[in-house]
């Protein structure tokens, strides 16, 4: 729902990551990690990103989104598993004392630039 705001943040951070001595480069790709629990729709994010980056150093950059699975760890029996559906109890011992190890990310990992 707020993919435009997120796209603006992505564009800002990506632009700020271009080294000072390389200001004439073209950014080819922005690599994101988006957890499956994060409230972000990749297609909407790409759409907003395209609009936001028109006529900037990021224009035409591909937004590459790696979707991160929701991995949980049971604090009682130490089992780790990937959560596939809306169940957050341990798949082995059914304990409710569960820690989420991944799946809530919304990170920019890297940018790839080309010097033409």
């Amino acid at each position: 729902m707020h993919e435009m705001g997120i796209a603006m943040q992505v564009a800002e951070i990506a632009t700020a990551s271009i080294p000072d001595n390389m200001k004439d480069v073209r950014v080819e790709k922005v690599n994101l990690k988006v957890g499956r629990l994060a409230a972000v729709v990749p297609a909407s994010l790409r759409f907003c990103f395209e609009i936001i980056t028109k006529d900037t150093a990021l224009s035409g950059a591909e937004l590459h989104i790696e979707e991160i699975p929701v991995v949980a760890r049971c604090r009682e029996c130490d089992t780790e598993w990937t959560i596939a559906g809306p169940v957050f109890t341990c798949e082995r011992c059914k304990s409710g004392s569960v820690e989420i190890l991944s799946g809530q990310e919304l990170n920019i990992e890297s940018i790839e630039i080309a010097d033409e």
């Binding site: 729902m1 707020h2 435009m4 705001g5 997120i6 943040q9 992505v10 951070i13 990506a14 990551s17 271009i18 080294p19 080819e28 994101l32 629990l37 994060a38 409230a39 809306p86 169940v87 957050f88 109890t89 304990s95 409710g96 004392s97 569960v98 989420i100 809530q104 990310e105 919304l106 990170n107 920019i108 990992e109 890297s110 940018i111 790839e112 630039i113 080309a114 010097d115 033409e116």
Partner: protein, 272 residues
């Protein structure tokens, strides 16, 4: 293959097992190879680089949230972020809570537009600040910088509890840290038992749930036990307070939980 060029060419992986494909490694081609003529040099190829960033997209919000958290801690204020879908009864619950809790409080209310909720809450005598997000494009949630700015309108030395009534939305507010101490989600019995399954992130990030409008249960086919089971499927240890904001049934345990939260923060702050 024999010949002077054999060192320049990658080794062939033969299917008859003469070269074991596992042990066989392709030699990398040199940058420029000559077979009696010049080949295009590297200067025509693009120079590509990957620059590591490794930053949270919501970094800016999280930094502001941390600043809020520090400020509220210095002022000994417990901050509660109250979220729900539109129409679940947040404002009515807060009207009744503020009237009965006996805690020095203030409220920041977020809505896309109108000051209706602030006007209602002001009736309790508690200081209220209304934030309308349509000034900045109709944001579907409250962000940390908005809370920081709104709090500047309140006398923070005079309160122990700040309640933030978030924009009615079960999706986005769950993503945004605003510097709160605890989060509460309000679910009403007119909404469908499987709401927690449809909005797992919201129920994962909240500390307690209020199941509201229980006065309507005799008129509905709502399976209350199923709703609570679904909440616990997503957040197994979450306290669920079954309340009616209209009749105030079930309010005592909810108020006690809230008073306890405020007390514990004061104790913790004074110990530091």
């Amino acid at each position: 293959m024999a010949g002077p060029e054999s060192d320049l060419l990658p080794q062939l992986i033969l299917p008859d097992g003469v070269c074991n494909p596992v042990r066989n490694v392709c030699k990398p081609l040199p940058a420029v190879k000559t077979y009696g003529c010049q080949v295009a040099k590297n200067s025509e190829r693009k120079i590509e680089m990957e620059i590591k960033v490794v930053r949270k997209v919501l970094d800016v919000n999280d930094t502001m949230a941390a600043q809020n958290r520090k400020m509220f801690a210095e002022k000994n204020i417990f901050v509660l972020n109250v979220m729900s879908s539109p129409g679940s009864g947040k404002t009515t619950i807060l009207e009744k809570t503020l009237a009965r809790a006996e805690i020095k409080s203030a409220v920041i209310v977020g809505d896309i537009c109108t000051t209706n909720d602030a006007d209602r809450l002001a009736g309790t005598g508690v200081p209220v600040v209304q934030v309308n997000t349509d000034e900045f494009g109709g944001d579907c949630h409250l962000a940390a910088h908005v809370i920081g700015n709104a709090a500047a309108n309140l006398d923070l030395d005079a309160i122990d509890l700040l309640i933030v009534e978030n924009v009615g939305n079960l999706v986005c507010p769950a993503e945004f840290d605003i510097g709160e101490d605890a989060r509460v989600v309000v679910l009403s019995v007119t909404e469908g038992e499987d709401k927690p399954l449809k909005y797992p992130l919201m129920f994962r990030v909240c500390n307690a749930a209020l199941l509201n409008k229980t006065d309507l249960l005799p008129y509905l086919d709502y399976d209350k036990e199923m709703a609570v089971r679904y909440i616990h499927q997503i957040q197994p240890e979450m306290p669920v307070f079954e309340v009616s904001a209209k009749t105030e049934e079930g309010f005592d345990p909810w108020l006690e939980w809230l008073r306890n939260c405020v007390r514990q923060k004061l104790v913790k702050q004074n110990a530091n």
